[in-house]
C-alpha cells in the first residue's frame, strides 16, 4: 500500500479526491484481512464496506503516531469483531473441528469451511485470540506489530499465539479429555 502522508493529510482536511485515493489503495488490504476473519466472500464484502464507512468518519483521528497500515488494521479488527459479535454468536460449535485432519485434496470451498470452523472455535476462547491468529498467522505480522495494532503488549500477543498453538496441538493429539 503506497499512500503518501500528503494524501492522508489532504483527506483529513476534507479533500474528497484524496480520500478516494485512500480508499482505492486500502481496499485490497481491508478485504483480504476481512476475508481471513469471516471466511466468506459476501460477509467479507460487508465487513469491508463497514470499514470504508468507518474510515470516512475517523480518518481525521489518525495522528501519524503509528504507520497508517497499523491504524488501518486496527479499524478492520474492530469492525470484524463487531461483525462477529452481531453475527457469530449462533455459530459456536462444541466439536473439536481441528481434530479432523486437513485433506489437501478436498476442494477449496470445503477447506474454507473447515478453516471457518477452526476460527469460530478459536473465537469462543475469548477476546483477542482470533485477532492474534489473523494478524500473526494470517497476515504474517510480527508479534510486535500485531501488538501495536491491538494496543496490547507484545507479550500478550505472544501468549495468545502460544495458547492457540498449544490448544490446537492438544486437539490434534486427542488428549484433551483428561
Amino acid at each position: 500500500m503506497e499512500l503518501s502522508e500528503e494524501i492522508i493529510r489532504k483527506a483529513q482536511q476534507g479533500d474528497a479526491n484524496a480520500f478516494s485515493d485512500v480508499l482505492d489503495s486500502s481496499y485490497e488490504l481491508i478485504f483480504s484481512v476481512a476475508m481471513k476473519y469471516v471466511m466468506n466472500r459476501q460477509d467479507a464484502e460487508d465487513v469491508t464496506q463497514q470499514v470504508c464507512i468507518k474510515l470516512a468518519r475517523s480518518i481525521a483521528q489518525y495522528r501519524f503516531d503509528s504507520s497508517f497500515s497499523t491504524w488501518l488494521y486496527r479499524v478492520v479488527v474492530n469492525c470484524a469483531n463487531d461483525w462477529h459479535r452481531k453475527e457469530g454468536r449462533h455459530h459456536q460449535s462444541d466439536n473439536d473441528v481441528a481434530q479432523n485432519p486437513v485433506s489437501h485434496n478436498s476442494d477449496v470451498a470445503e477447506q474454507q469451511l473447515y478453516l471457518k470452523q477452526v476460527l469460530e472455535q478459536i473465537n469462543t476462547w475469548g477476546k483477542g485470540y482470533l485477532d492474534a491468529v489473523v494478524l500473526v498467522i494470517g497476515e504474517g505480522l510480527t508479534h510486535q506489530a500485531a501488538a501495536r495494532v491491538l494496543d496490547v503488549t507484545e507479550s500478550t500477543v505472544s501468549w495468545r499465539i502460544h495458547e492457540v498453538r498449544k490448544r490446537l496441538h492438544l486437539l490434534e493429539s486427542g488428549g484433551q479429555k483428561a
Partner: protein
Amino acid sequence: MKEQDLKKLFEQAGKASASDEARMRAKHAAMQAFENAQEEQKTSEDAQGNRSGNRPISENNNLIGRIMMHLSNRWLMGGFATAGLIGLVFVTTWQARQTQVDAPLVASRFDQETNVGIQPVEELAKPKAPQEVARVHKERELAVAESEALERRDFAIASKKQRIAAPQMTGIANDAFNVIERDDRFQQFDENRVKSVSDEPFSTFSIDVDTSSYSYVRKMLNRGNLPADDAVRTEEMINYFDYNYPVTGDREEPFLASVGISDAPWKQGNKLVHIGIKAFEAPAEKQPDSNLVFLLDISGSMSAEDKLPLVKKSLHLLLGQLKPTDTVSIVTYAGGTGVVLEATPVAEKQKIVAALETLAAGGSTAGESAIQLAYNLAEAGFKKDAVNRIILATDGDFNVGISDPDKLKELVEKKRESGVFLSVLGFGDGNYRDDIMQSLAQNGNGVAAYIDTFSEAYKVLVEEASSSLFTVAKDVKIQVEFNPATVSEYRLIGYETRALNREDFKNDKVDAGDVGSGHTVTAIYEITPVGSNSGLLDAPHYDANRRTHKPQAYSDEYGQLKIRYKQPESNTSLLISKPLMAGQEMSDSLAREFNFATAVAGFAQILKGRSYVDWDYKDVIEMAKKNLGEDPYGYRSELVGLARKAAIIELEESNE
C-alpha cells in the same frame, strides 16, 4: 491441526477478491459518509466557532511517536487489564437529601437565563442521559460476552474447583464464587454538588490513597470503551500519580500540606483551591523492620498466567525491597492449607525463592483456617516497633477458613489492635469481590492494590513499597472551613465516597484513611469568589435568607484548612491548620504539580459527563503535556494517551 495448514488456508482465503459490484457499493457508501462527516464537522465548527480547521496533528508528531514507543517499551500501553477496587465507606444519605432540596432552587436560575446555552440543571442532575445508559449497557454486554468466554475457557478448572470446594463454601466464599466472572461491581454515587458557603461553610472528608479507579478506567479505554460513570472516582484518578510536593524534614510532623490557588481552567471566574499532602519519607536505613506473612490463594483458578505466576514475580520484587533482617513466612490456602515457609530472614533469600517456586495452583484439600495460621505465624514472629503485616494475594477466593464475612472482618479488626495489619493484593480479571477485599484492607489498616501486569507490580511493590508497608499517619481527615466574606460557593472535586459529617472530624472514634511513607494525597476544591458571577446558586429571594458578611478581618483568606491525624501507635488525633490565602504564592514546581492534578481532575470530570466543566479532552491533553515534569516512569505521558483514546471513542460513539 498444524500451523502450516492454518497458514495455507489463510493464504487461500487471502486470494479471494471482492466483486466489483461490492467494491463500488462500499466506495459509494464511504464517500457518502465522508461528505456527511465534513458537513458535520463544518456545522460544529460554525456552532462552536473555536475549532480551527487544522487539527493539532502536525506538531509534535515525532514527540508523540517517541512517547508511544517509550510507553509500549515500558508495557504501559494497552496490556493493562484491571478491575476496580471499591471502597464501600461513608455512604451518606445526608448528601442525597441535600441535593434534592437544592435542585429546584438551582434550576430556577436557569429558567430566567436560558440564553446562556447551558443545559438546564435538572437535566444535568439526572444521573444518566439515555445515550449514556446505552453506553453503559453496551459496555456491560461486552463485559458479559467476555466473561462468558472466560467461563467456557475455565469451565473445566472451575467445575473441578466447585466440586472440591462446595461443601465448605458458605457465606462469603460462596458469594465470591457466584459473582466470579460475571461482572465488576461499583458502588453508586452522585458527584459532589455545589454548596453555598452561607449554608454549609464546612466541608469534611477522609483522605483516600487508593488508585484502583484509574487502572480500571485505563483498562476500559484501552479496550475501546468509555467507563461507566460510577467507575470513575476522581480522587483515585488524581492520586494515582505521584506529586513532587515539598516534603517535611521533621519526623514529628508526619506530613506537610501545601496549598495553592489557581484559576479554574474549565470555568471563567471560578478558582481552584489545591491541597497537596506529602508524607514524610522514611529513609531506607531508617525503615523499621518487617515481619511479613504472605497468605497466598493457590486454588485452581489461580493457575492463569496473570495470577499465581505473577504473584511469584511480584513477591520476588518485594523481596528485593526488604532488609536482610526482615522475615518472611508463607501460608497457602484454597488448594491445600499449610505453612509452606516458617519465618525466614530475607538474608536467606534463596530459601524463600525456592519455597515460592514450589507453589503450584490447584491442589486437593481445603480446610483449616488459613487466616488463623497466618496470624499465628505473624504473632510468633512479632517484632515490636516493626511492620507486622499479612499480605493476602488472591483472585477473589476468600475461602480462608472463616466463611462469615462479618466474622472475618471482626478477626481482622481485632488483630489490627494487636498490631498485625493486613494488606490485600488482587490478581486476575473480573474475577473477584473487590468490595470484600477493600473492606478487609481498610479494617486491617492496609492497602488494597490491584496487580494486573508486571509493571503494575513494580509500581505497587517497588516504587511504592515503603508507602504500602510503613504507615506514617492514620485516620487522616481534612476539614475546610470557607470564609463567607470571600467565597460564595464551593464544590469538592471527587471524594464522594469518602465524605464525613462535620462532627466526625474531631471524633477520634471515626475511622479514616491512612497515609504511608512518601504517599502524596491531593484534593481540589472549585470555588466561586464573592463578587464573581460564575456561580451556579441564585441569591435568595427573601431577606431573611440573606446573610450579609461584612468584609473585615480575614478578607484576604478564602478559608481555613484543618487536618487531623493520628500517629501510627496513638489513638488521639493531632491537628494541623493553615489559612487558604486568596493571594497564595506558589513556586513554579508546585504550580506544575497542581496543574497536572487539575488536568487529571478535568479528565475524570469529562468522563463523568461534564456536569460542571466546560472542557474537552484536547484541553486535558494540552494541560497535561505542559505539566509533565520529569515523569521518569512515563505515567503522566500515559494519561495523555488515554485522553486521546477517550476522545476518539467518544467521537466514534457519537457517530454510531
